[in-house]
Symmetry: C2
Subunit: 272 residues, 2 copies
């Protein structure tokens, strides 16, 4: 139970559990934080769910995930913005200080255009985020998701966008799975943390071979990402926030989730 | 049969065919060039195979693929260098002016170390390439291959390495499948062509969804890569070389390859 005071787990990581099960089990094992995927709140009173998590002794770290701003039609872009405004309200009701943004991409829409629409979308929701006291975190995704999930694929792009939009309520979400390969990772990580813009730090591992583009993430230690080295960069400039385990894995979801949770904690202590 | 004077096809694209079938069919359809995968030469006299290709009216564009320099053990790095020296000889025997290098990566070996070993490996084989009149082409691979195939994942990295090693016999292989997502693609493409360092240009497409990290490439037009735009960048600075179709696809390999070849030609004319 020691050294788990900075460990946070995403509800999606233990997808077979509902949020009540996840809260009870995380708490029982000494996990300190929880990041809540929107799907986990379906059919529930969001405010009460937030209270339930705090009653279980958990810190609510973030609500995941808004974004998906680009669209070919203006009306669809408006719908995306409205959806994100609702998500900001939801984060406030939940008591989550951060809304994670997966920025979006549309196959066939030029990446440059997607990036413009992403910036416009974030600019459009920032005032409401500020009014609600919610921070927005731009999460760059691995380039293999540039077709349909995010046109923001490097930490430099996220840092540049955050610099351009300059707001106390906008920062970056750093996920080693998406970023580990980047030759500029160290310098852009330092830039991000030194600028006070690192809002969250996600960990998992890259398996060899990776058998599915979406659902074959590894547990820390399963793969080749130098997690400790990247963590040392993040912390060398003073990041003291949560370290969040975010794993999508058909294989781990097929496992008894209590056994998997034990493995997560062991892997966190051994490899992060 | 018009406008195929710059079309080259990689033997791997029509993998079910042996090189003799490929040569006959490409030629019969007016395809001008062929890039030969090493595997296609197995059990054959390389010099005679080269002659067979030229007799069929094909230009031998490149031999694919050397590289894979990094290894944990010095002896394995030596083996890789020896293998690449043999490949340079093979390219000379085949009559291919270019050897394509997939630089290599080893899971668990730090990317920085892999990159050093790649540079050392290329430096070690360059004199032999120059002596044989063979050019070496550094092909950056998509970041999803950074674990085990290449620690060179952006055009900038390839351009930087080519600049550093400064040799008339070293350049870059540009493949839209690997590079299309890169926010710096236009500037690095112009840098590469203007510097006279673009040795080859490969095309295929990125499908949504992509169901396999290796074997689900699309035919041009199947996906979201702006091939024409990227081609216009390549040609705006004077590239006049072959345009090479390199597709790995379980689905297309399962098709009658004569039908597939017709589709390749149609897609080349319509989308490249």
């Amino acid at each position: 139970m020691d050294n788990l005071s900075r460990l946070c787990i995403h509800t999606i990581t233990t997808k077979p559990w509902d949020i009540e099960d996840a809260a009870r089990e995380y708490s029982r094992h000494g996990v300190a934080g929880i990041s809540v995927w929107r799907e986990a709140l379906e059919g529930r009173n969001v405010r009460q769910s937030g209270q339930m998590l705090r009653d279980a002794g958990l810190t609510v770290v973030s609500l995941v995930r808004g974004g998906f701003f680009p669209a070919a039609a203006r009306s669809d872009r408006r719908t995306a913005i409205d959806d994100n405004l609702k998500l900001i309200d939801e984060a406030a009701e939940l008591g989550a200080p951060l809304l994670v943004l997966v920025c979006g991409a549309v196959p066939g829409l030029a990446l440059e255009e997607c990036r413009r629409q992403i910036k416009d979308g974030i600019a459009a929701i920032l005032p409401h985020a500020a009014a609600c006291g919610i921070k927005l975190g731009v999460e760059p995704l691995h380039p293999m998701y540039a077709d349909s999930r995010s046109a923001i694929n490097t930490l430099k792009q996220a840092n540049d966008m955050v610099a351009e939009l300059a707001s106390d309520h906008l920062g970056v979400v750093h996920d080693v799975y998406h970023l580990w390969w980047d030759p500029d990772l160290r310098s852009e990580t330092l830039r991000c943390v030194q600028g006070g813009n690192l809002l969250a730090f996600h960990v998992s591992d890259w398996k060899t071979p990776t058998e599915d583009l979406l659902l074959d993430r590894g547990l820390m230690g399963d793969g080749c990402i130098p997690i400790r080295k990247i963590r040392s960069w993040v912390e060398s400039c003073g990041y003291e926030g949560f370290i969040e385990v975010e794993i999508f894995s058909s294989k781990y979801w097929a496992m008894d989730q209590k056994v998997f949770l034990t493995k997560i904690i062991e892997a966190y202590l051994a490899y992060v």
